[in-house]
Symmetry: C2
Subunit: 263 residues, 2 copies
């Protein structure tokens, strides 16, 4: 990719695919800050988490080249898009990565299943200040005007101040008009779980199949420091995300357990 | 599934697919402890992380029913297998979930990409004491004899003592004969990164494609409390895994940043 070193390089991706309105909204914001490179899946890949493509080869397709905007579609998952962009397309490390704007919330435990957040995490692993952005609106045409207004502030802030090392940000916007949003709130991920409800059907050949559906169960609805509380109370939630899964407290307990003789 | 309430119910899955030798090795261990239910992907799904299947329906295929062993193949990813097993097949919560034995290490940052560990994490989210097991041998026919010996101890221990709440275990076995293994070591996940090396090729129709390959870079090779150190020093690594991505330390820094007027 041709370089313009005087301008920040902004890598944009998502998991709803190259044609998603949420991606367009994010590109509109990003263009205000510098040179924009989009590498996004060629179709929607929601719920693909941090999947990478090992069994099949990956394809990149350049679909737009304007002065400050280059767009590629990619046959892979969101994490593949980031890896390909960093390794094969750019000649310098992007100054910032933004992923989204996802059509649907990625708060609480949804971060585990989210391709949007996987892309942000992958960017963070590569040392790029990275942000995943989502709106609590699952429709195909959400109103992104509030996301644009506040998202611009987040990108500006990140370009100026960076993000703590080893961290990426999980930003969720409530589905509200601009004036009803009460501002930003730094949160932790609420404890909760998606409770499955499989929709069991029978196909025309009399074979069973299952559609995965479900509802979210918030285990701590009254905890004001969680992302779920923030969103329900008209705030934008910002969770600093680190992908170290090790639980140091549990290490102590297990050490005594696995030191037992005659285990 | 028919119940035998006097025997522990052991749910077995993996990401290498229903035909993987590593799954058979794990079933061999599990059968010693109770009634075994296998729900595993119908083909290899390595690197699929915590992906779930939303766009397509899921299929279950019962392929074996013996006295204490029932096996289903599933068209979905490892996390789908766990969700389907818990929601559609069993009438009681499994006493333990074991995932693997994965052909290849899932230490350090590989936990992020691992389908094996996603299944264990999903089990943990459902309140099942869950363990992912992997061997640092990527071949199709690893020697699982040491895994069987020590894996049996881990399952026995977990059935007796449980696992700390909200935790699942990431167990990695070094590629060694039984007698060369120095025992268990409770660890944290080493900081490190997969460095991509895309193999760029041109197909017969003159279109480019990319194969994802790479090597692992350990950022802290000398830290004796990490899983990478344990494995390199002939120990079995056990990392207690919690999927709360929130970084409480970073929350403090961000709070001051996002409280600034005129952001």
């Amino acid at each position: 990719m041709e370089e313009k070193r005087n301008k920040p390089l902004i890598l944009v991706t998502n998991d709803d695919g190259i044609h998603a309105p949420g991606l367009k909204a994010l590109v509109d914001i990003a263009k205000k800050f510098g040179q924009v490179l989009v590498v996004a899946p060629d179709e929607g890949r929601s719920g693909m988490s941090h999947a990478i493509t090992i069994k099949y080869p990956l394809r990149l397709n350049k679909i737009l080249k304007e002065d400050d905007l280059i767009m590629y579609s990619c046959s892979g998952h969101p994490a593949d898009c980031v890896k390909l962009a960093v390794n094969q397309i750019v000649d310098r490390k992007p100054d910032i990565l933004v992923s989204g704007i996802n059509h649907g919330s990625n708060s609480s435990i949804s971060v585990v299943y989210s391709g949007t957040m996987a892309a942000a995490i992958e960017g963070g692993l590569h040392g790029i200040p990275s942000i995943g952005l989502s709106i609590t609106d699952y429709s195909s045409r959400p109103d992104f005007s509030a996301c644009k207004f506040f998202g611009e502030q987040i990108i500006k802030n990140t370009l100026l101040e960076g993000i703590p090392e080893g961290i990426c940000l999980n930003v969720n916007f409530p589905k509200l008009p601009l004036n009803d949003i009460r501002g930003f709130r730094i949160c932790r991920q609420a404890r909760g779980l998606w409770i499955e409800k499989f929709d069991k059907r029978v196909d025309p050949h009399r074979r069973e199949y299952f559609w995965l559906t479900g509802y979210f169960d918030n285990y701590e609805p009254d905890d004001e420091d969680t992302d779920e509380w923030a969103l329900k109370n008209n705030y934008i939630s910002i969770v600093p995300v680190r992908v170290d899964f090790s639980d140091l407290e549990a290490m102590k307990k297990l050490k005594s357990l696995y030191a037992k003789p005659g285990l």
